[in-house]
Every structure is written in C-alpha cells, then in structure tokens.
C-alpha cells in the first residue's frame, strides 16, 4: 500500500481507539490547552516504541524464530528508555512545550495504546519507514478521535439525557457511532483512492 494509503487507513479505518479500542476510555479525558503537546507526545512515543519493537522483532528475534518474545524485550528495554527520555524532556525545560510533551509522554509509555500500536506495526508487513509513518499517524489518529470525543462530551453534558445514559454510556454510544463513520473509510476504499 502507498504511504497515502497507510496514512488514511491508520488514521481512520484502523483508528487505534475506535477500531482496536486501544488507550483509555473514550472521551474520558477532557482535552484542553495541552492538546497540541499531547498530539506530539502521542506521535513521538508511538514512533519510537514502534521503531524499537520493529527492530527487535524483525532484525533480532524474527530470524531466530523467537518473534513472539519481542514484547518481553520491549518491556525490559524500551519502556525504561522511553520513560527516561520523557522524564529528561519534562525536567529539561520548566514551562515550555518540550516539558509538556515530556510529561504527557511519561504518562503514555505504560499503556495498551503504545504497546498495541507497537505490536500491530512490528508484526504487520511494513518496512521500517512504513512502520514509522503508520505509528506516527496511529498516534495522531488516536489524538483526533479523543479530541472529537472530548468535544462531543462537552456538548452531551449540556444536553437533556435520561439519567442512566449520562456520562460514560452516552460517550460509549457516541464512540460507537463515530467508529461506524470512521469504518466508512475502509481498506478497499483507500486502496482505490490511493493505489
């Protein structure tokens, strides 16, 4: 698939939150002024994690037939390294964007989102540049979905819903409908569009 196909496919049809359910509960976190920092953090952490796991899986363990052990190496080596990098970024600059990105990245490292995208990308039939693009865009696709759901949540809070549907039920149903819309951009459509 072309790079355009990878970008559209991973951002919409295979959205990390709405197709795979990775990450936290949809719309749980209100997106405020730190939205830009969280987008950069998501893209950077996912790209670094996926590149590491791709290397471990395809270069070191895959040829030995031990590819399924990649996640153990990932949690032993990559997670502490990513934690160290994000903390260094957070502490390096007291108020700047880098510090906010570092703080966001520190929270992200141990979670199903980073692990899930890294596993998907490393075990998919991607080359390293394709894996990097796919993981970057997956992070941004996740951020897009959370921002959209955050905006929906703030409107739902003002609407007159039946009491049992207020809060998480309304958000889950909204996420389901949004997932349905994202599914519209499926692989076949993207393939015909992007070749």
């Amino acid at each position: 698939m072309s790079y355009l196909g990878i970008v559209v496919g991973t951002a919409f049809a295979s959205n990390a939150l709405l197709s795979y359910g990775f990450g936290s509960v949809p719309g749980n976190k209100a997106e405020g002024g730190g939205a830009f920092a969280s987008a950069i953090a998501l893209a950077c952490v996912n790209a670094l994690a996926s590149a590491f796991l791709w290397g471990v899986h395809n270069i070191f363990l895959g040829p030995l037939g031990l590819g399924s052990l990649d996640i153990v190496f990932f949690s032993l080596l990559a997670v502490p390294l990513l934690k160290f990098l994000s903390r260094a970024a957070a502490e390096g600059e007291s108020q700047g964007l880098l510090a906010r990105v570092g703080a966001e990245a520190d929270d992200l490292v141990v979670g199903s989102l980073v692990f899930g995208i890294a596993l998907l990308v490393s075990r998919g039939a991607y080359s390293l540049p394709e894996a990097l693009v796919a993981s970057l865009v997956s992070g941004l696709g996740y951020w897009l979905a959370t921002v959209l759901l955050g905006a929906l949540r703030s409107r739902l809070e003002l609407s007159d819903l039946p009491a049992p549907f207020k809060g998480s039920p309304a958000m889950l149903i909204s996420a389901g409908l949004m997932a349905l819309a994202f599914m519209g951009l499926d692989a076949a459509f993207v393939k015909s569009l992007a070749g």
């Binding site: 709405l18 399924s68 153990v72 889950l172 149903i173 389901g176």
Partner: protein, 208 residues
C-alpha cells in the same frame, strides 16, 4: 474500584470501565470472552501474588520495570497455553493476548501492589480484592461475548479445546452482525453500562 462499607464491590467493567478495549475489539463470542477473561484474571491474580514478596528482594528503583517485565512474561505464558488449548481461539484473540500485560486489570493489580495502603476499608488483603475483581471481569467478559454472539450471529461458541470449538446455532441467519464490529461493541457496552446503573440504583447503591 474499591469495596463499599456494605461489602458491595462495583463491577470493574460496567462501573469502572476497566479493561474495556479488548472487550470491545475481540470479545465477539462466548469462547473469546472466556479465554480473554481467564487470561486477564490469571495475570492480575498472579501479579497480586508475586509482586508483594518481590518487594523485599528487589531494589526500589528496579521494582517498576521488573513488575512490568513479569506482567509481560505472564501474558506471554498465558498466550502460549491458550495457543496449545485452542489455536483457533488464540489466533482470533490476536495481539490482545500479549497485551494482557498492560490490560486495565493487570495495571490495576500492579498499582495496588505498589501502593502502601491495604485494600478495602476493613483491611482485607490486596490479593482478595484482586481476586474478586478478576472473577467479576471474567464473568462480565464471558457475558458480553455471549450476548454479542447470540444477538449478532444467532449462535454460541463454547470454549472447547482443539482446532474447531463447538458451535451451537440457534437460527440460520445472523440477525444483527453489526454487533460483532468494534462500533457495535461500543454501543452495546454503552447500553450495558446504562442498564447496570439502573439496576444498581434500584438496589439503593451508587453505580460507581
């Protein structure tokens, strides 16, 4: 998630939305729900049993990475066992089996083990609390899988060993196959959470 004064433990999935990602994505049948729920319960309970004794042996700064590596190893061991028990079901659960290492239940168990407070207002053990939540998670995962499959496909797949799990067909057509997609999973879970709120409030308790 913690136990109330009257001993009522809220459902971790329906009240706390713990570990809902795989339930939405891959718990599309009773068998998948049971295999995934068992894995999540196994990892959480094993972590709850193993991490506290490790605290006395391992240096403080190494505890977090070792706990995570242990969680990953447990998830991987379970994935191998699931693959031996039923290669078909293990394949359908795909990367979600290794992801058991960072499921909401496992991370909750790790957090609980690393906190200094004892679990529960009446001083019950952490492991007891983890066991109760894990069993509730397993039952809920099985229920969601069974509901999606019954309403969606009109059949029920049992978690039997071997290459072809036993499948009981109720009707020849798939009445609402949309429920098997992630979007159907989100919507069904939304309705289940609302139903749970109604039932819990009718019992005079707080839903979360």
């Amino acid at each position: 998630m913690s136990e109330g004064r009257d001993g009522f433990v809220p459902n971790p999935v329906l009240a706390g939305l713990v570990g809902v990602c795989p339930l939405i994505a891959v718990s599309r049948s009773l068998a998948e729900g049971v295999i995934y729920g068992l894995g999540a319960a196994f990892c959480a309970i094993a972590l709850g049993a193993v991490i506290p004794p490790l605290k006395g042996i391992v240096a403080d700064r190494l505890q977090a990475p070792i706990s995570l590596a242990l969680s990953t190893a447990l998830a991987l061991a379970y994935a191998l066992c699931a693959g031996l028990y039923s290669p078909t079901l293990a394949a359908s659960l795909w990367i979600y089996l290794p992801l058991l290492a960072v499921s909401g239940l496992s991370l909750g168990a790790l957090r609980r083990c690393s906190s200094r407070e004892r679990y529960g207002p009446d001083g019950k053990s952490r492991l007891g609390g983890i066991c109760v939540e894990s069993i509730m998670f397993l039952v809920t995962a099985a229920f969601i899988g069974a509901l999606r499959e019954t309403v969606g496909l009109g059949s029920l797949t049992l978690p039997t060993p071997g290459l072809r799990p036993t499948r009981i067909e109720f009707i020849g057509i798939a009445p609402l196959s949309f429920l098997l997609t992630p979007s159907g999973g989100f919507i069904l879970l939304g309705f289940l959470v609302a139903a749970y709120k109604i039932i819990v409030r009718a019992g005079g308790r707080k839903a979360s």
